[in-house]
């Protein structure tokens, strides 16, 4: 009988190995070759709402893929030389699309303005003409003729005798916030320094890991080129931060990851006096993770990096199965181990699966992926533990564990009445303290508080903002229209409302496309206004100064309205700005971006947004933060649901009294760790919540194992639980030292949670017989 069962087991083991190998290949194919991994944070956003998704694409286009590099030098000639070298370096790069300016982009722009003055009448002149203040309009022109500071010339007077383009041009440079030309480059003189700006566009998302790696190489090379020619480079853009943070994250993951892996190997090897248990542990977790990723990558078209990281972490719960196996193996031979541990570890698995099942119904893809990965991973690890571990041929029962005595004594200590009583009291005390403390938690869902931006990059960004006069108080409005002309018309309407806000002191200024060119309707109005002036007395006065023939000829050639065409701005100094202010989507949708500066309160703008269906207040980080809030709120609900599910399940298995004893330690530990993180001054976010699931998942295993043991007969359980606690704390708890708040938050919960649940779990030990 036994040999038949053995053969059956062997066959199953081989089958499982084969399946694991298959999973491994699926992972290689899907995730490594086909790269079905998504690292774009924005793509986590719920796609249910089409409008949001569409806006999000627009947001991405604006914010994520843009990069501003500022070259800085005190010497003007040197900075131009540096800029030429940097430009060469940029042209060699294949991650940027560079927008080239013409040799004399301001001249190119001037020619454009001169060619169609009705399209470029300043608001100020429009108002003067509309109010029939022809005399004032004329005097402004005359003043130009006599001013020693004007650049009046014969050529100018021939081309544009009313200096309309001049007026407009100075308004434009006003919009360009003091930009000036440094040969073929656009730049700024600020605070005794010269700055040359490079407006770059990435050819992929700033969250693409490959691109981030390339970016770091490119920027190092660019900085080197600038440095060699005596200049400095300042970066501002999502990519600068995302690349640096990813690099920092990887560096940390390497130090924390390798550090904790090494510590686990050393400690476990010391306890078991062998390296093999650590290797077994790695094998089980690896098969679990590989199977989970294989299955998930077959079900979902793309796996998000976020789900992979969190999901794989949760598979870590499976350490319990391994340690339980190994610990039991210290007391009985391998053949008997499975029989003895199958019940508690199955129960552990079922409770965990129950917990994560709730996430599957969250309706949020990321959470579903996390749930699927952890469920499949745990099941695979469970099967591996049951099938493969006995057939490995490693038998601890035949070895003499020196450290075993330590656990015998530890067991004696924790099963003492006094200890169990203390644990119970503490569990209730922690519960009360935590509930009180947690009630005061303010959740922080701001995406910026999840990651730590390097200080030097923040300083660079600040300087860029100062030079470009774009403060952090900047908000952006987005206006949608079906045609460019419609967009311009709608923008004209909107900006007249914004002018009112400026008049009321509720807004400092704005930049909008319609400041660059008028809609066809406005052009027609401008034309009529100028014709009305042409019929006035004031015009005759001016004509006598500049020559009636010249002026009449000019007025006669004023052309009809023209459609706005982006390409005519190519190579002019306005091109970068237009690219910032107008977005044409593939579906023939046009979006105008209105950059608001010095917005006093959002309410006035929000009222505008609410009243206009085509108008949106754009806030890329805000959009993501509100998504994080959504995920966090859902996760809290789901974690609570998971805890309740598990409690009900335990009541069903154990009856209410014992179920409570099994349930209380992880609950108390989880809540205490949350309030500890809160008391440590951490802002609580989604990552804390996700870590609570881990504490529950592992913690409940401890109490389930303990509840299976009668007093004084559970040294192997103590051994298993201790090993599990140590390895979990080492694997995740060390994350609490991370520079990245999100990672640190996760680590803090696991660190406190695991230690507390380890201390409290003995209260579940059976005290009846």
């Amino acid at each position: 009988m036994s040999s038949i069962k053995n053969t059956q087991n062997k066959a199953l083991s081989y089958l499982w190995i084969l399946l694991s190998a298959l999973f491994f290949m699926v992972v290689i194919k899907n995730l490594i070759i086909d790269k079905k991994i998504n690292s774009d944070i924005a793509s986590i956003l719920p796609k249910k709402n089409k409008e949001v998704a569409e806006l999000n694409a627009v947001v991405n286009q604006i914010a994520n893929n843009k990069l501003i590099l500022l070259l800085k030098n005190t010497n003007e000639e040197q900075i131009i030389l540096s800029a030429q070298k940097v430009k060469q370096q940029l042209l060699q790069s294949n991650i940027f699309n560079t927008n080239e300016l013409s040799e004399d982009s301001n001249q190119a722009l001037y020619q454009l303005l001169v060619s169609n003055p009705v399209a470029f009448l300043t608001k100020e002149d429009q108002v003067l003409l509309k109010n029939e203040q022809y005399q004032v309009f004329t005097q402004k022109r005359i003043a130009q003729l006599y001013s020693p500071f004007s650049s009046v010339s014969s050529q100018k007077l021939n081309q544009d005798p009313l200096f309309l383009s001049d007026a407009y041009f100075s308004k434009l440079t006003n919009i360009l916030t003091g930009a000036r030309q440094y040969q073929e480059f656009l730049g700024y003189a600020y605070n005794q320094h010269h700055y040359i700006i490079f407006n770059l566009e990435l050819n992929d998302s700033a969250f693409n890991l490959d691109l981030q790696r390339h970016y770091l190489q490119e920027i190092t090379a660019i900085k080197q080129v600038a440095y060699e020619s005596g200049s400095e480079i300042l970066q501002s853009g999502v990519i600068a931060f995302s690349a640096a943070e990813t690099a920092q994250g990887l560096k940390e993951a390497q130090t924390i990851g390798y550090g904790s892996l090494l510590a686990i190997l050393v400690l476990i090897s010391l306890i078991f006096r062998s390296l093999i248990p650590s290797l077994i542990l790695l094998l089980v977790i690896a098969i679990g993770v590989v199977s989970a990723l294989a299955v998930a990558s077959m079900i979902f078209s793309e796996l998000h990096v976020f789900s992979i990281l969190v999901g794989a972490s949760l598979v870590g719960i499976a350490v319990d199965y391994v340690f339980h196996y190994l610990a039991k193996n210290t007391e009985v031979t391998t053949e008997k181990v499975i029989k003895l541990i199958i019940k508690p570890i199955s129960l552990g698995l079922i409770t965990s699966v129950f917990g994560y099942l709730a996430l599957l119904f969250s309706g949020l893809i990321v959470l579903q992926q996390i749930a699927l990965i952890s469920i499949v991973g745990l099941i695979a690890a469970y099967i591996t533990s049951l099938l493969l571990l006995p057939s490995i041929g490693y038998d601890l029962s035949k070895r003499h564990l020196v450290s075993y005595q330590v656990f015998v004594r530890l067991n004696q200590f924790i099963t003492r009445k006094e200890y169990v009583y203390l644990a119970k009291s503490l569990a209730y005390l922690f519960l009360v303290i935590s509930v009180i403390s947690i009630l005061t938690i303010d959740f922080d869902d701001r995406v910026e508080s999840l990651h730590a931006s390097p200080q030097d990059l923040r300083l660079e960004q600040q300087e860029v903002e100062q030079v470009l006069s774009t403060g952090t108080d900047k908000s952006t409005l987005l206006l949608k229209a079906q045609s460019k002309n419609q967009l311009l018309q709608n923008l004209e309407q909107l900006t007249s409302q914004l002018d009112t806000l400026i008049g009321q002191g509720r807004l400092a200024s704005y930049i909008s496309l319609n400041q660059i060119i008028a809609s066809k309707q406005q052009q027609q109005t401008n034309y009529q206004l100028l014709q009305a002036w042409a019929n006035s007395q004031a015009k005759e006065q001016y004509a006598s100064l500049v020559g009636p023939d010249r002026l009449n000829h000019y007025l006669a050639t004023l052309n009809a309205p023209t459609e706005f065409n982006k390409t005519i701005y190519k190579a002019t100094s306005l091109e970068p700005l237009i690219n910032q202010l107008l977005i044409e989507s593939e579906k023939q949708q046009f979006y105008g971006l209105i950059q608001l500066q010095g917005l006093e309160q959002q309410t006035a703008i929000q009222q505008l947004v609410e009243a206009n269906e085509q108008l949106y207040l754009l806030d890329a980080t805000g959009l993501f933060s509100s998504f994080l809030q959504l995920v966090r709120e859902n996760s809290i609900k789901l974690v609570i649901a998971a805890y309740l599910f598990i409690l009900i399940f335990l009541v069903f298995i154990y009856g209410p009294k014992k179920a409570w004893l099994v349930f209380l330690p992880p609950l108390s530990a989880a809540l205490l760790s949350l309030s500890m993180a809160h008391m440590l001054g951490q802002s609580i976010n989604i990552f804390h919540i996700v870590a609570l699931t881990l504490v529950l998942g592992i913690g409940i295993d401890y109490t389930i194992f303990y509840s299976k043991t009668k007093k004084q007969a559970s040294t192997d359980t103590v051994l298993a639980v201790t090993c599990s606690m140590i390895s979990t704390v080492l694997a995740f708890g060390l994350m609490s030292f991370s520079q990245t708040p999100a990672v640190a938050g996760f680590g803090t919960i696991v660190l406190f949670g695991m230690i507390v649940v380890f201390l409290l779990a003995p209260m579940a030990i059976r005290s009846d017989s």
Partner: protein
């Protein structure tokens, strides 16, 4: 009112000859001006006159004839008063006006370092009167002016700008206490 003679290097042409120009010309002064702007395409010159005042803080250019316009240029702003209405503009937002007014004041103040940065300078007539010929070195000046001529003794008496298109602007300055 002493004259200080300063030696500076000129980079004009290929040879690097020694050039002596006036420095420390009076920094605070006021007087009268007559400006004749002659555009090539218009026969009659635009003649204006009025008062000006220059000191370390501002340049006041008060045109009294033929129309009253007042310009007050400080380091940060330019104020234009037409018909009693004052319009103030930040110079940082008007780089062109900022640049031309900066050049104009640097000529009136004989700000050597700023002039040398922007012009090749040649000097002649080292008696009681001197004159400087300024030829713009770089953009945007060299796209507008072919040369600027300055004459004076211990004050500036005449500034003539000549544009590439052949327009000229003669500014005669005279002083109350001379």
């Amino acid at each position: 009112m002493s004259l200080t003679i300063l030696s500076v290097n000129s980079s004009y042409g290929s040879e690097s000859n020694q050039l002596e120009v006036l420095a420390n010309i009076e920094q605070d002064y006021k007087g009268y001006f007559v400006q004749k702007r002659k555009l090539k395409i218009i026969e009659k010159p635009f003649v204006s006159s009025g008062e000006f005042e220059l000191n370390s803080k501002f340049l006041l250019w008060h045109i009294k004839s033929p129309y009253e316009v007042i310009y007050n240029i400080s380091a940060e702003t330019i104020e234009e008063t037409i018909d009693g209405k004052i319009k103030t503009q930040e110079l940082k937002n008007n780089p062109e006006i900022a640049f031309f007014s900066q050049i104009f004041t640097s000529v009136l103040k004989m700000d050597i370092s700023l002039l040398q940065e922007n012009f090749h300078i040649t000097q002649s007539n080292m008696e009681t009167e001197w004159s400087l010929l300024l030829v713009p070195k770089k953009k945007p000046l060299n796209k507008v002016f072919s040369e600027i001529k300055v004459q004076g003794d211990n004050k500036i008496n005449l500034v003539i700008t000549r544009s590439l298109s052949g327009d000229t602007n003669n500014i005669h300055l005279s002083y109350e206490f001379n």
